[in-house]
């Protein structure tokens, strides 16, 4: 049996306002375990604004700065600058934003920070829609998925934006994908990010049971299946060029239908739709393998 080894210290408290089975909440729990107490979290408008707790409460045992929707990266850069002026190089600044705040409205401030190579860790917990405001589509919503703004009759017609490619193109020192079903991989990547100077970007797939229309107990199962079906491969890219593939390791992937069929947001799909999604995934996978090969 593969046993996980997680740092003991719990920096996310119980009583938070995440829904049952919230992948985003679990992701925060792992991230803070990896980073430790000397961390400041910057959170723009997103579910985590709520999960953290209303004034005058907080569910995190580290300082949190709540900021405007489009400003996670730039606000984090400011906090970093303030710490640096105080001579505090030990504290990590973590920008923690949703997919809407990263792929869409926050992209310009993120691009600016990356271009300046600000010394921050930016984690996008991607639940694939604007969940906090009621499941509206974002640039991260998958191809043909249902959301309240892409109803079943006209599901999302564009594929998911390739945020990793965008960040890699900035040639930042470290970019990686992670997800909650792989805690060891997750923690290792956050700790690696902490050890590197400059802008570090983590794209974290965070299952959202209410938004994905799936039972809460399947949160981890969905995260795992996303990897096993190659919908969300786990990999890292150093300095914009060195690709390393972490998971899935084996050559035989599960068909994407195994992942889709568990989620109500895909229940309208036809056989043809599923094949179209499979083709997309196969193409991306081949491209990833090429990138890994070429950078070896």
């Amino acid at each position: 049996m593969r046993n996980f080894t997680l740092p003991e210290r719990e920096l996310m408290g119980s009583g938070h306002l995440g829904c049952q089975g919230c992948g985003g909440a679990l992701a925060m729990r792992y991230a803070l375990k990896a980073l430790g107490e000397k961390t400041i979290v910057v959170i723009p408008a997103c579910c985590w604004t709520i999960i953290a707790g209303p004034f005058p409460y907080t569910s995190l045992k580290v300082p949190v700065l709540h900021t405007a929707f489009e400003t996670a990266a730039v606000a984090a850069s400011g906090v970093r600058a303030a710490l640096d002026i105080q001579g505090d190089t030990e504290t990590t600044v973590l920008a923690w934003a949703g997919d809407g705040g990263t792929f869409d409205i926050g992209l310009q401030s993120l691009s600016g920070a990356a271009e300046r190579n600000e010394n921050i860790i930016y984690i996008c917990y991607d639940n694939e829609a604007y969940m906090n405001t009621g499941i509206q589509r974002s640039g991260a919503t998958p191809f043909l998925a249902w959301t309240t703004t892409t109803p079943e009759k006209t599901p999302k017609s564009e594929p998911k934006k390739d945020i990793m490619a965008i960040m890699v193109a900035h040639r930042i020192p470290y970019a990686a994908t992670a997800t909650v079903a792989y805690p060891d991989d997750f923690i290792r990547k956050v700790q690696k990010a902490k050890s590197i100077y400059g802008t570090k970007f983590l794209h974290v797939l965070a299952p959202c049971p209410p938004g994905w229309k799936a039972p809460s107990e399947w949160a981890i199962k969905l995260s795992r299946l996303a990897v096993q079906t190659r919908v969300f491969p786990l990999y890292e890219v150093e300095n914009g060029e060195r690709y390393t593939l972490n998971e899935p390791k084996d050559d035989t992937a599960l068909p994407v239908s195994e992942y889709l069929k568990l989620q109500g947001r895909f229940s309208h799909l036809t056989e043809k739709d599923i094949q179209a999604i499979q083709d997309l995934i196969d193409k991306r996978w081949q491209r990833l393998l090429r990138q890994v090969r070429e950078s070896a």
Binding site: R2, L6, S14, H16, G53, K221
Partner: protein, 551 residues
């Protein structure tokens, strides 16, 4: 319990929006409608083991190299781990969940390893109140031995009456030493005797002492006399055939039997296989004559394979119709059979093909077409239906206080089944003596679902065997023990179905940090658990159940 912060005026508020407390006042447990609870389940292997060995726990101990603890745990449920690790047909392995992933655990090989590794250990016999009730057990096979052990552990005075010169039943009389070395059997019987069990050998009930007398002198009597009466062939010349079981008993008792070169063995059960393998070791050439095909043979597959491997020849779809003696040799007239409609046992019935007779020449014929209990000495206490003894209230015979079990009750079965029966009778006797109802047996209620994602494929350990050329020269044990390292590695393949082994998954995956780890076990904080069910889903071994909250 943390309380929410209440500001009674603006002045009490901080100058800017800053947090003053954690969310501990927010009891998210009130959101829950399904409650995760740790409730260990019965592993399918344990459920299938007739004596109820606690296999997942034992394997966990072995994987940690704690062989003595493992041995002591075996002895909680069975007095014969060294015997069972060798001759039990291991139904546990047939039900092992791991077979749906790669291969079943090699449970029997580990049981044997543990028993061998702890060969010199003694049971820790605690001071316990001696009970005045006396119990007589007739027969010292696995049924009698198990019953004696569990009664003696409870302080009852147990005497075992055995017709043969040494205790052990079929384990000594029938099963040859190349499968069960006598030192192993002797040691495990010795440990049973240590609990105060008295063995009276060379004492045949109905002959040397009457059942009536036993009944008068004891508070309860257990009949565990096995099934030793060989079935007849009912053909002319039957008197020229030896009985397979008698042949085995003689060889196992150290007697010399002149077999000649060719030996025909009639029958396809385990007795037939042991006759063939024993004949091989005496330098003869055995030919098994069976009236159906290999598929219908009642012997277990492994035994057939071993017999064949060692050089036994098989003559399928043939049945003897007459035996004649000619110049010191035997001439067996056989008839060809074909398979017809299925019979009551579900196997296809053999039907003779007219005028297909042929002759087989041989030096010896051994008949091994099955055994049945000989219960003549019991006749007045007994009612049977199709050969099966009918039990009266609370498992007793017509006469209160007389119990029956093992092969004597069911006809030929297995070592482990006989032990289960002996164990159950021990329980029935205790209930009877205390005037209570016997407890109900437990069975598998909830299937244990294993989350295969947490495991990697690993091959099952191979049991080392003596080379055939060496095997047929002596009665030395053919299977060799696996090494300590192999046992440890093999045991670590166990999924630990239904039994928490502190893998941490529930703690790792709780999105609400509502599970605490306390010295290798876990506690769920129901003040905060939202009942998402992630822990139950991700428990690799179904230890956590989700139960509906009462509203």
């Amino acid at each position: 319990m943390k309380k929410p912060i209440v500001f009674t005026s603006e002045h009490e508020m901080p100058p800017m929006a800053v947090s003053l407390a954690d969310m501990g006042h927010n009891r998210t447990g009130s959101w829950r409608y399904l409650r995760p609870v740790y409730s260990e389940k019965l592993a399918p292997c344990k459920n299938a083991c007739p004596v109820g060995n606690d296999i997942p726990r034992i394997l966990s101990l072995v994987s940690q190299g704690r062989y003595e603890d493992a041995w002591r745990l075996f002895r909680e449920t069975s007095p014969l781990p060294g015997v069972c690790g060798r001759v039990c047909y291991h139904p546990c392995e047939s039900f092992c969940n791991r077979k749906d992933f790669d291969e079943a655990l090699s449970i029997a090989a580990i049981e044997r390893f543990v028993a061998d590794a702890c060969f010199d250990l003694e049971d820790r016999i605690p001071e316990r109140p001696k009970r005045s009730e006396k119990i007589a057990i007739v027969g010292s096979g696995p049924a009698g031995l198990a019953c004696a052990y569990f009664l003696a552990k409870d302080g009852y005075a147990v005497t075992v009456f055995e017709g043969a010169s040494q205790p052990g039943g079929m384990l000594r009389l029938g099963i040859p030493p190349y499968r069960l070395p006598r030192a192993v059997l002797d040691r495990e019987i010795e440990l049973i005797a240590r609990w105060g069990v008295e063995f009276r050998t060379n004492t045949r009930v109905g002959q040397d002492i009457s059942l009536e007398k036993l009944w008068e002198q004891h508070n309860a009597v257990f009949i565990a006399t096995g099934a030793h009466q060989s079935r007849a062939l009912n053909i002319p010349g039957e008197e020229f055939a030896l009985t397979g079981l008698e042949f085995l008993k003689a060889v196992n008792a150290g007697k010399t039997i002149a077999l000649g070169k060719r030996v025909l063995i009639i029958g396809g059960g385990n007795t037939a296989m042991d006759c063939a393998r024993t004949a091989l070791r005496l330098g003869a050439h055995p030919i098994v004559v069976y009236r159906r095909t290999r598929e219908e043979m009642p012997a277990i597959a492994e035994e057939i394979e071993e017999a064949e491997h060692e050089g036994t020849q098989f003559e399928f779809l043939a049945a003897p119709v007459a035996i004649r003696k000619l110049n010191g040799k035997l001439e067996v007239q056989c008839i060809r059979m074909k398979l017809g409609e299925p019979d009551a046992s579900g196997r296809r019935r053999p039907v003779p093909i007219p005028s297909s007779d042929f002759i087989m020449y041989t030096d010896t014929v051994l008949k091994a077409v099955g055994e049945e209990p000989d219960l003549a000495f019991l006749s007045e206490h007994l009612e049977t239906s199709e050969g099966i003894v009918i039990e009266r209230a609370q498992g007793m015979l017509e006469r209160a206080g007389i119990f029956i079990g093992g092969d004597a009750q069911t006809g030929p079965s297995t070592v482990a089944q006989a032990m289960r029966s002996g164990k159950e009778v021990a329980q029935k006797i205790k209930s009877f003596l205390r005037g209570e109802r016997p407890p109900k047996a437990t069975t598998l209620e909830e299937a244990v679902r294993v989350n295969f994602n947490y495991f990697t494929h690993r091959p099952r350990v191979a049991t080392p065997q003596l080379a055939v050329s060496e095997r047929i020269l002596s009665f030395a044990e053919t299977k060799r023990a696996i090494s300590a390292e192999q046992a440890r590695v093999e045991a670590s393949r166990c999924f630990s179905c239904g039994v928490c082994n502190s893998c941490d998954n529930c703690w790792v995956f709780c999105p609400d940090a509502a599970i605490a780890r306390i010295n290798g076990h876990y506690e769920i904080n129901y003040d905060f658990c939202k009942g998402c069910g992630v822990c139950a889903e991700e428990c690799p071994r179904s230890v956590i159940s989700l139960v509906e909250e009462e509203l």
